[in-house]
């Protein structure tokens, strides 16, 4: 770890001021991604802006037909939230399969979605539910937000404040865990909303993406069998020591079927 300074603001405005004052400043929320990177000296921030003192970034609210999750809401809080459990059980379930209990007690939804690790869980729900990413400056539709591996529409110094999830008719999630890290090897999030059906793949590719063949099939016939036979092309998928692109492509079909079963 290199030396850095540390700030702990108590409002979004102060945090944004700090973050925009220096391009090498970094926000830290749960630290589950950033701290290992700092320890391995892969990152050299001038100072860290700790978001954990900002009350307005925390918590889950249900308003009308949407659920709003504050950026600093920890995975364990999503997992246990009565609002999430009743409105979007697939999202609560997703939180239960992130990492391990230590990671879930520290990691936050904002950190995960800001980081956009291709093997992370939440981005698939954000895109799959057509959620809106709310920042200190603007509202970004999920379709415009994710821009490939570790890349998002967030601008330097821009703070992710909350995520608004429309409540779907149905949603489901299935993930094959990486046996070592427990991140996603291949996962599929499916949702049926008033705007239609979405099928989003995570873990398998360089970023989350929609599986349009499966979306069409499910729009015509919402059943596990409708997607089970649809093959995902392996071109462009990730390949590493845990799984080839072909294996991940195969897993996409398996996880899609399971996600639809999970959605009911």
């Amino acid at each position: 770890m290199y030396d850095f300074d540390y700030h702990k603001p108590s409002s979004v405005a102060d945090a944004v001021k700090l973050l925009s004052a220096d391009p090498d400043a970094r926000a830290i929320s749960g630290g589950q991604t950033l701290l290992p990177a700092l320890k391995h000296r892969l990152n050299r921030p001038t100072y860290l802006v700790d978001l954990s003192g900002i009350a307005e970034l925390r918590g889950v609210k249900r308003e009308g037909d949407k659920i709003t999750v504050g950026a600093m809401t920890r995975h364990i809080e999503v997992q246990n939230s009565p609002e999430v459990k009743s409105a979007i059980p697939a999202l609560a379930y997703m939180a239960t399969v992130i990492g391990d209990i230590q990671v879930r007690n520290r990691g936050t939804m904002g950190g995960s979605v800001a980081n956009n690790d291709p093997a992370a869980d939440y981005p698939s729900a954000v895109l799959g539910l057509g959620a809106t990413v709310v920042t200190d400056k603007r509202r970004i539709a999920a379709d415009d937000y994710f821009q490939g591996m570790f890349t998002t529409a967030l601008e330097p110094g821009e703070l992710l404040v909350a995520i608004e999830f429309p409540i779907p008719e149905k949603a489901g999630y299935a993930k094959m865990r990486n046996p070592a890290s427990r991140y996603v090897m291949a996962g599929v999030f499916v949702a049926k909303t008033k705007d239609g059906v979405r099928v989003v793949v995570n873990g398998a590719g360089p970023g989350v993406f929609r599986q349009t063949d499966m979306e069409q099939a499910l729009s015509a016939n919402w059943s596990p069998d409708a997607v089970a036979g649809i093959k995902q092309a392996s071109e462009g998928l990730n390949s590493d020591i845990h799984g080839s692109a072909e294996y991940r492509a195969h897993l996409v079909s398996v996880m899609a079927k399971r996600a639809v079963t999970d959605a009911g």
């Binding site: 094959m176 070592a180 093959k231 845990h242 079909s253």
Partner: protein, 778 residues
């Protein structure tokens, strides 16, 4: 064996310390004035070192010293020795392994330079400012490929990358066995490279006293005397008595910490140059590239059977990857250690083991829990199951037909097994396995879309490690009794088990004993940890030392009681004159023995005594295990749903600790079977499994309950009647679990599968067996 505490499942005395965070580990220890050492490591698998520019680093804040290989050469430090003694055909090539590379680096992570600074961060900062210019070379990465013609050369003096050729056995007898066989099975097997991954990374604090030119190394290690032997003369060029090594609590080792490492040399040399203590603590992920790896044996194994299924001959032709250098016992593991266990629990009249040692551009390989025995057992059990399946024998009946049942048994390699409950264990595990009910369980799994498999395997361990051990019993002023042993605990519970042994024999309370270990200043000699040797080798030394104490005590008691020594009876810690009330207890004798006025003529003061156990006998722990797995056809994931062990470790001093040892070993064996694999990129030699994010270690949720039933067949090879339990689980689990996976996949036509049985490998095997269909027809 005396009645009493021995045999009781006592909880560990050390638990309170460990569970409340009061354990003391090397990195926790204060070392006033200590500097911090950081190692700069090679990013290349193989490269010429053209130059190292350290000027900028030397002037950075806090930096006290920067060292390169040239500096160590100028200082006259010798290479790290390889004490392994192997009877090879032709020479064993032991290339110089210097603490810092000189003109060439030969694996990713090899130490190239080191910085010593006031703080760890300053040392790291300065290490980043060192510029090394490399000329990358092609890398040899895989053991078998390295031995093939045209492979990149790791060492000039080892043409074709061959470190050694080893052969043991009667070739003519084996060939005759195969010639007259009714059945022959041949398997190509890989026992993959793994990493022991103890939770506590290696760490060391080096000190040097200029007045006496003596060294002090505090380390997270497992074998202080052996490490000192390699370090003092060969590397530092000083007599061993000028080097003290000691270990505080050690957070797991599994063999990995038995060895001398370059970093030990660096902290001592730096401390000598700077006149201050020097501390080094490895990063967790540094250990994956820079400690030592294990196993890595691949080749062909063949078994010849007659028409009734009797084993006629066993032949293994293996390539052992040693990595870039010969680590301390690296060449001994795939040769001596494997050969002792070849044929395992079966009577095999003719055995031939051929091994070629290979140098590759990878981290050196050395002993890890089981060391050689997992390899011997894995190949045997895979062969036996394959033979049963291909030739139509029942796998349990085939095993039973070939088990050694008459003792002593002399193996094809001339090793005499004194005892064993092989058949008893097999019968017991077969009964517990409920094979009759398996069809119903398989059908139930199938109804849930899972393939179920049952694997049953026998195992043999040849336990001893280094022969010979030393122990002493010392009476302290405060009434406590120190038990000093040359073996070492790093979590096994020796503070408890040796106290149990001593309490029974000395008739003193369990609480009165303190364990002294892992310190060359307090322990005269010893062979440390390794090879499931502590109770067998160390316990015997302790018994001998206790007998010596009691001999002295009897003499003094006789003198004080004015009786003949032979008229005294010793019981419950008291010598009494037979048929009278007159007696004296041991603590009183210990006190009295301090005053020469109390002593008979010619008796030296004190009751303390020490003893050497000269034994080189091996014990033969064994057992039979059964596992059931469920394979998810869609993803290839394996769930280990059931496990049962039936094991013989002779007499049990503490069944609770024995069970814990077996279960810990099983968890590591399950890890090897299903998850763990060190992976280097086959072209670049970069380490791809460089942290727990990519090196899959088993978690509690990957391991089912692991019941262990003991059958105890005492051995006469030591006075306690014990056999080593420390490694057995890691030996038995890999074949047991793999046979269960193969049993599950057999209906699909899958017969070839290597460890670890990862989801992708299983999916591929299913995929290939079904001719390319994503999912085989049901």
């Amino acid at each position: 064996m005396p009645e009493g505490l021995s045999g009781q499942p006592l909880r560990r005395r050390e638990d309170a310390r460990f569970l409340t965070g009061a354990g003391r580990y090397t990195a926790d220890l204060e070392a006033p004035g200590a500097l911090h050492l950081h190692v700069l490591r090679s990013p290349h698998a193989h490269a010429r070192v053209l130059g190292i520019e350290t000027g900028a680093a030397r002037t950075m804040p806090g930096v006290r010293l920067v060292l390169t290989g040239v500096d160590l050469a100028d200082a006259g430090l010798g290479p790290l020795p390889c004490p392994a003694v192997v009877r090879t055909i032709g020479p064993l090539v032991v290339p110089d392994r210097h603490a810092l590379a000189r003109d060439r680096v030969r694996h990713v992570g090899e130490p190239v330079a080191c910085v010593v600074a006031e703080t760890s961060a300053e040392a790291r900062d300065a290490a980043e400012a060192i510029e090394v210019s490399y000329d990358p070379l092609p890398a040899a990465v895989d053991g078998r490929a390295a031995l093939a013609p045209g492979a990149p050369q790791v060492w000039m003096q080892a043409p074709g990358n061959q470190a050694f050729r080893f052969e043991r056995g009667d070739r003519a007898a084996v060939e005759a066995g195969f010639a007259c066989a009714a059945h022959v099975v041949s398997l190509d097997l890989v026992n993959q490279r793994v990493h022991a991954a103890p939770i506590e990374p290696r760490a060391a604090i080096g000190r040097h006293d200029a007045a006496t030119d003596s060294f002090d190394l505090l380390l997270s290690g497992q074998s202080v005397h052996n490490i000192r032997e390699q370090l003092a003369g060969p590397v530092l060029g000083v007599p061993a008595d000028r080097v003290r090594l000691s270990c505080p609590d050690v957070g797991g080792g599994f063999g990995l910490k038995n060895f001398l490492f370059p970093e030990h040399v660096l902290v001592l040399h730096a401390a000598r140059l700077l006149g201050r203590p020097v501390r080094w603590v490895a990063d967790g992920s540094e250990e994956f590239q820079a400690a030592v790896h294990a196993r890595d044996l691949q080749g062909t194994a063949r078994l010849a059977l007659d028409a009734e299924g009797r084993f006629l001959a066993l032949h293994a032709d293996m390539a052992a990857d040693l990595g870039a250098y010969c680590s301390a016992f690296g060449p001994g593991v795939p040769t001596n250690s494997i050969s002792n266990a070849m044929g395992t629990v079966y009577a095999v009249p003719a055995v031939l083991l051929e091994v070629r040692g290979a140098f590759t551009n990878t981290l050196p390989v050395d002993a890890y829990r089981g060391a050689g025995k997992p390899e011997a057992n894995y190949m045997m059990e895979r062969l036996v199951d394959a033979a049963a399946r291909r030739c139509g024998f029942d796998p349990v009946a085939l095993r039973r037909r070939n088990l050694v049942t008459a003792f002593p048994h002399r193996s094809a390699f001339g090793i005499t097994m004194d005892s064993g409950g092989f058949a008893e264990a097999l019968d017991a595990v077969e009964a517990l396995a409920d094979r009759a009910g398996f069809a119903a369980r398989r059908a139930e799994s199938e109804a849930r879309g899972k393939l179920r498999g049952l694997g049953l395997a026998c195992f043999l361990e040849t336990a001893r490690g280094a022969p010979g051990e030393w122990a002493a019993v010392r009476f302290a002023d405060n009434g406590l009794v120190d038990l000093a042993l040359g073996t070492q605990s790093n979590g096994q519970g020796h503070e408890t088990s040796f106290a149990q042994v001593a309490a029974d024999r000395l008739g003193l309370p369990f609480e009165s004993f303190r364990l002294v270990q892992a310190d060359t200043a307090l322990v005269a000699r010893g062979n440390g940890h390794g090879g499931a040797r502590s109770l067998h080798m160390g316990g015997t030394a302790l018994v001998l030392a206790i007998e010596a104490v009691l001999g002295r005590a009897r003499r003094l008691a006789a003198h004080l009681l004015q009786a003949a020594p032979d008229d005294l009876a010793f019981a419950a810690g008291r010598f009494a004159v037979a048929g009278t009330e007159r007696g004296v207890d041991l603590p009183a004798l210990a006190r009295a023995a301090r005053d020469p006025a109390n002593l008979p003529d010619g008796m030296a003061p004190g009751l303390d005594a020490e003893a050497d156990n000269p034994s080189d006998l091996i014990t033969f722990p064994s057992g039979a295990h059964v596992a059931e797995v469920e394979v998810d056809l869609d993803t290839g994931e394996v769930a280990l749903v059931r496990y049962q062990a039936v094991d013989d470790y002779g007499n049990l001093v503490n069944p609770l600790l024995t069970e814990g040892q077996v279960q810990g070993g099983l968890a590591q064996g399950i890890g090897q079977a299903l998850m763990e694999r060190v992976v280097y990129d086959p072209d670049s030699g970069q380490l791809l499994s460089a942290s727990p994010m990519d090196y899959a270690l088993p978690r509690a949720s990957d391991v089912p309950p692991l019941p262990v039933r003991f059958i105890s067949v005492p051995t006469a090879s030591n006075p306690l009647g014990v056999k080593g339990a420390g490694q057995a689980g890691a030996i038995a689990a890999p074949p047991t679990v793999m046979l269960a996976v193969l049993d599950a996949l057999a209906p699909l036509g899958v017969s070839a599968l290597d460890m670890p049985a990862t989801p992708e490998r299983i999916w591929k095997a299913i995929h290939e067996a079904s001719g390319g269909g994503a999912r085989p027809p049901a």
